[in-house]
Amino acid sequence: MRVLQLLILTLAFAACLPGCDPPESTFVYNTKTEELTRDVGSAVKERLDGDFGSPKNSVAWLRMPVDYGTFKGEVVEVDEDASSAYQFRVKFGSNGDEETDGEDEEDGQASPTPGEMNLAGLAIIWKSGDYAGGSQIDGGKRDGEKLATLQVAAWSKDEENGEEGLLSLRQLMDPPPAVGDTFEIVGHKLSFGRQLYAAHCQHCHGTSGDGAGPTAEYLNPRPRDYRPGKFKFQSTLKTNRPTDGDLQRIIKKGIPGTYMPSFLLLEDDEMDSIVQYVKWLSMRGEYEIKLVTQLYFDYEKVVFDEAVESALEDGLEEFEDGTRDEKPTKRSIQDELIETANADLPDIAEQESNVLKDAWTKENMTVVVPLVARTPDTAESRARGRVLYVQNCAACHGATGRGDGEQVNAYMVNDQTREKYPEPGLFDDWGQSIKPRNLTRGIYRGGRRPIDLFRRVFEGINGTPMPPFKGKFDNDKKINDARTWDLVNYIYHIPFESRGKSAGDSATKHGRTAASTPSTR
């Protein structure tokens, strides 16, 4: 008996050993992708994986406006006798390709060198020589700009000269590159960003950036789901994407009043890489949503099955009329329809990726800058602001700013389904219940600078019921901005106004202001 028990224990232990490996990290697909009919769904997934890869093997899709990180280099020595080569000596940070890097020289900055960095798995793009512009070694991807990040095998720096060293590739180059050929190694920020994201962000925001990491369910408000490409606190127009600076600011300062903490002590290169990775993750998510949206109308499982049925009926009629040669079967009709989808997909992908590219291109973003400087914070300005507040804000934020306006008890209509939510109150675009900010607490999630409050009022908050108020206060743009400053001045004052009343604050300045504005209780 004893032996048997021991044996069972040993076997149980052995069985748990393979289970002790960390699970493979994968991107999850959108629920709507899973709702597509199977063949179309897998075509979408295939395209998505081809363009963005997986967490472990991410693809630096050069079309997307992401700074993946580039090291420029030049081949300095190749084994002369060999007819092919895995490895050769290179020099980084050189002037590189004289024809193409003119723009970089304008910055007057030396090209960065990888130093001790691990370059394994990064892509190499040839800029001059026989391999330039070609796809001979980029894994035969669909087009020249697409790159699997699986190229460099290792990089070992020379001890005495940090710029030179031995570079080995995973693929064989036949024939070997020539001395003087220039290249770029792309993607170190993406892979560094992924590591940092895994360490700092993933447990809340999820591997796919879907805001569904393991700690997410304990948080209120929930961590952001990046996939719709909507970010709440940005300096740009509501319809724009945030700038790199906006994302950095949130990561550095955190979001007071939420579980998003400050990551102020990240080094500059860490911060840069995380921002690039988050952008890339958001682009991947939105790309998927955009592809699926184009196909969902025709290829959602139930709709598709119905379409097949009716097409089959039509086809059988046509066959009997003699206008169709072959007798159609369910299978053949399915194949026909799916073939159409597959034929359309490259065009859809092309189009949607361009939309995405344009959206994230910095030149297409407009940063909100007030036309007039902040109005001095006087009692008169605040009184004007108070009037605007009662007219425009009190419905949600409440007459006293406690976030208890009557809208909190009303039933909101879901924008997507056009149906009323089952519960009263406000909801954001992610379907989460959301409360109007309690302005008496003096906690400003998107930042407490005047410009932050101005932008929140002017452009609203993306993804939430907080609407933009630009142009609502006056037809003249400058006067409108001045009115907005009045409102901002009043909002800053709200925490002190309620306190002054309840605590009997003797500060005469506050007392006078409260008297000159309509009663708040």
């Binding site: 600076g245 903490p261 400050s262 940063v367 800058v369 007030p370 400087a373 005047p450 410009i451 800053y492």
Partner: protein, 279 residues
């Protein structure tokens, strides 16, 4: 095997002495002790911290000497017993004088330690003993929350109030203090229990929700120091990594001035103090 137990008890004092000796070089000592490039090199960067270190060394020396001596004595007795085989052991009902001695001597040592440390304790914890200059004008209010340190400074030239003021200045995870003068912070917690821990300054104080706890220290060397949370406060405890920046008074004044400019940024005036995202 005869001498096993004698060797066993002789082994530990040797291990202890070896560990004491190599600790600083192995970086098992005070922060920065094993690193010649570090700012602190294992030294406390506050005068009170030096006193605390001295207390630590005193107790370490007393306990090490006692530990080593008792083990050597024990080992010697066991060695004698093993060597002198066949020799009859001495039977005794105990010695009254010896028992009194080994009660009185440790008691005396403990009373000495407890009285000797009172002065450091008073300076560190008793508010009436805090340096007056520090108490009069606390530099900042530090509020711990899950999972960061939120900091509130009074506007330059003003005093920190218990309640937030319209012109207060705010930062997060970045506490600046002037060097070479005692400074006091008001420590609070917004949610659960945290602990304000600056190892290089030898400052550690729990933050309790609902309480405002004054903490003072004087940094003698300008530089960046670690600030961490030393109380397991939730799943994100490890994220509460912040810094204390000690800088000369003039630089500290300039810091607050710049902070005020940044916080008053309206996106129009004073463009250069604005952030990079506005370009």
């Amino acid at each position: 095997m005869r001498y096993f137990w004698a060797a066993f008890f002789m082994f530990w004092p040797i291990v202890a002495i070896v560990i004491f000796t190599i600790s600083p070089a192995m970086n098992w000592w005070f922060p920065g002790a094993g690193d010649p490039d570090s700012l602190t090199k294992g030294q406390s960067m506050t005068p009170l911290g030096v006193d605390i270190d001295n207390l630590f060394y005193l107790i370490l020396i007393i306990t090490s000497v006692v530990f080593v001596l008792t083990h050597i004595a024990l080992g010697y007795v066991l060695f004698r017993g093993a060597r002198d085989e066949g020799k009859k052991a001495l039977f005794s009902h105990g010695s009254h004088a010896l028992e009194v001695m080994w009660t009185i001597v440790p008691t005396g040592i403990l009373i000495f330690i407890s009285l000797y440390q009172l002065d450091v304790w008073r300076k560190f914890r008793v508010m009436s003993s805090f340096p007056e200059a520090a108490v009069e004008a606390p530099v900042a209010e530090v509020t711990a929350r899950q999972f960061e340190w939120r900091i509130r400074y009074p506007a330059p030239g003003k005093k920190l109030q218990l309640k937030p003021q319209p012109d207060d200045l705010y930062t997060v995870n970045d506490l600046h203090v002037p060097t070479n003068r005692p400074v006091m912070i008001q420590l609070r917690s917004e949610d659960v229990q945290h602990s304000f821990f600056a190892p290089q300054l030898r400052v550690k104080q729990d933050a309790l929700p609902g309480q405002v706890i004054p903490v003072w220290f004087e940094v003698t060397q300008a530089g960046h120091y670690q600030l961490t949370c030393a109380e397991l406060c939730g799943w994100g405890h490890y994220k509460m990594k912040a810094r204390i920046v000690a800088e000369p008074q003039t630089q500290f004044g300039k810091y607050l001035h710049d902070l005020r400019n940044e916080q008053n940024d309206d996106g129009v005036q004073d463009k250069k103090s604005g952030d990079a995202d506005d370009e």
